[in-house]
Amino acid sequence: MSASLVLTRANHLVTVQDRGRRGAMRYGVSQSGAMDWVRFAQALALAGGTPHAAFEVGVLGAGFRASGRVVLAVTGPGFAVRVDGAEPRVLTPPVRIVLADGESLSVEPGRAGMWAYVAVPGLDFGPPVLGSYATNARTGLGARDFARPFPVAETPPLEPLSPEDIALPGGPIGILPGPQQHLFAPAVQALFAAEPYRVTDQLDRMGYRLEGPPLEASTHDIISDGIVRGAVQVPGNGQPIALGADRAPTGGYPKIAVIAAADFPRLVQSRPGDTVRLRWLTRPEAEKRRRAVAALLQKPFAPRVRSDFTSEFLASRNLIGGVVAADPDRSDPPDP
């Protein structure tokens, strides 16, 4: 019997993502791709390593129903997974679940975390656009029709599994120099790494607005240049914006810094109201951190030893209201 998966509960924060659309930024096409590259990669690995893309689920959650046997891998810090069917259960990601015919699964936000990933071995997302399955929220490039069930081809004989989450490096969020770091006086560069910045509710896949001591540059209006994921741009009000997967490929605000790849997942999983601290890293230091995370992703999954509630639960104190209220069109101030 051929299987399929249908999204029974979708919203604008549910998209299809992969590692991003590469090679077309020079034509004005955004990179897109998963916001949290670590949890995305973990979901793919947990799904047996065959999928190229996954559903990205934001803080409004999502619901799925299986027709036939479907294996799903769900990752995402702070989220919960509820399975409804013959054997109702609530599970904590990362988790691999086998749904029987007619069973449903919902991904529910908890008190921490912004993005969860659902990877399904054998699921057909349809043809890629410009070599990528990623959806760009702003242009609609790669958008999928969620009203239609996704066919799931024969899947590998994977069993349910609850492995440990990836232990990301702790401490302040690492930052490296951005291409206009020189437009900020050394004292301003030091300030950025010395003071706490608050994550505001102005956030989406394009970028996260932070709030803290203003960062003054010699000019806040440059001739546009290319922007990488994690770049921190500073408009005239001095409040930094950390740019995400759906950022425009170029922009005219000076970029003081770029968030280290190993630390970007922690930033994007932060909730409005959370405070982040930053720290300048050298390239070799950032490299070392990234390689450490990549090595963890290569390790075979070990079953989780559940000792107590995760520190995410204990540390979290913010609810999702602010995020839901964020205006999806606000985002990055447009260039033209």
Partner: protein, 238 residues
């Protein structure tokens, strides 16, 4: 001249760098960006993820598991090839309608510039423009070469979405927009040329560094050209 002579290297995180040839819109800087981009395209070095040329700089993004900044720069030819400077950018003739609803903001822009509308169109049509970069949105083309008489600041707040194919001016630049979106620029005309198609190779009609001159068409010809696959785009005869 070496491809990197006089360039400033800027960091951009752990897997990218920016080669900066200046901090203003300058044709010489733009040409050097174009030649460096062409060199990377021709080399296609292992681990190069993508490059983003702009008016004055080139963003180079790479896979740090495969290569690094020093390796990529060392792979560049020591000097620009003999034909590099001579390699002609393409020159295009682009139809543009500048009447009525197809030039929605023309009267407003002319008033801001204290010019009669016909004078604005005359100055605009006399210009030769250079494609400086794509950015902001798929196929959104930034053009340099706008006459100083047409330098108009951006609107304080964006106007309602313009139509696809809009020809825009603001901030001393011109732009072509492949899709409707709100804009702080002024819509002074519309081209029937399709500006972005992800299923076409290349997905945009122009390369960075190409030159563009406009040819005015009336509304009837606009409608006729809009029905053609190329929208009436033509190469200038050399």
């Amino acid at each position: 001249m070496g491809l990197m002579d006089g360039a400033t290297l800027r960091g951009s995180g752990e897997s990218a760098f920016v080669v900066e040839f200046g901090d203003t819109i300058d044709p010489e800087a733009g040409s050097r960006v174009g030649r460096l981009a062409a060199a990377f395209d021709a080399l296609a070095p292992a681990g190069l993820v993508e490059i983003v040329p702009t008016f004055r700089s080139l963003l180079v993004e790479y896979d740090p598991d495969v290569t690094d900044e020093a390796t990529l720069l060392a792979a560049l030819p020591a000097a620009e090839g003999p034909d590099a400077a001579a390699a002609p950018a393409a020159a295009w003739r682009v139809p543009v309608a500048m009447d009525g609803a197809l030039a929605e903001d023309l009267a407003e822009a002319a008033e801001r510039l204290a010019l009669p509308p016909e004078r604005l169109t005359e100055i605009f049509l006399a210009g030769t423009y250079q494609l400086g970069m794509y950015g902001f949105a798929p196929g959104f083309s930034y053009l340099s070469g706008v006459d100083a008489a047409l330098a108009i600041p951006r609107r304080a707040s964006p106007r309602a979405p313009m139509a696809a194919g809009s020809v825009l001016i603001a901030g001393g630049m011109a732009a072509l927009s492949p899709q409707p979106m709100p804009t702080g620029w002024y819509v002074i005309g519309r081209t029937p040329v399709p500006l972005f198609d992800p299923d076409r190779t290349p997905m945009v009609p122009f390369a960075v560094g190409d030159t563009i001159r406009f040819r005015r068409v009336d509304e009837a010809e606009f409608a006729r050209l809009a029905a053609r696959a190329d929208g009436g785009l033509a190469r200038e005869t050399p």
